[in-house]
Symmetry: C2
Subunit: 131 residues, 2 copies
Amino acid sequence: MQKRKFSKQREAIIENLKNRCDHPTADMVYSDLRQIYPNVSLGTVYRNLSLLAENNEIKKLVSDDGVTHFDYNIKSHDHFVCRKCGAMSDLHIINCENLTEEISKNFDGYVEKCDIMSYGLCKNCYNQESN
Amino acid sequence: MQKRKFSKQREAIIENLKNRCDHPTADMVYSDLRQIYPNVSLGTVYRNLSLLAENNEIKKLVSDDGVTHFDYNIKSHDHFVCRKCGAMSDLHIINCENLTEEISKNFDGYVEKCDIMSYGLCKNCYNQESN
DNA sequence: GTTTTTGCAAAGTATTTGCAAATGG
DNA sequence: CCATTTGCAAATACTTTGCAAAAAC
């Protein structure tokens, strides 16, 4: 791996992810970044998010509908995606914490990680629907 | 929903999915279909796969790398994706069969389904790597 | 005869890449 | 200075869409 140099854009991307819990898309991060650095480019945001995800400094999460989200929390945890508003939120499932090891036992190969993604309607969208 | 009419292209797509277990992409199905119907278009394949997935006749599965796969088996089961060759295979996890209901208990909204996606190296790629 | 589906091509998304200039160490 | 990163624009990859013709019923 090449030596990494500091960049204020990358720092701002990390800061942005750190201070929110809505699992933003690249475009959402880009919108926020433009408030601070009006000339920042979407390419820079994509380049940095990919770099960080490859080095496991952040998590890249792709939902069923093909939308890519990013998460600052790299600890093993699961997610819920609302079919209606598309929001992704955290989910903590108690009895599936050692799932990776569990799968490894019966698997002929190397199991690196395991993601649980749940879908449906979030509280808000569910209440709206029943009106 | 509008009334559906028969189409030999759609039937061939279903047949193709039914007779394989490698969770193909739209393009893989398209390649096979051209052997039977040389003039079939990729648009038709996408249209039909979307239609079938929306009506829950097949499953649409998106892996971490953003690649969309399709599965004829609509019963609840989980998947493994090889990080090296990209192949998707089935995984049957015994103690996570009622996960959707389990999540529902502690969730303020409506939980429709739940996918477990596991990543690593498949048997073949793992053996190659250790040589 | 009316509705659905098709093939084709064009358009739409999301993401990546080439390159010269700017920045970091 | 040399390596990395940036902004910009163009390119790529994947998927959807508009439309007239064909097929289904």
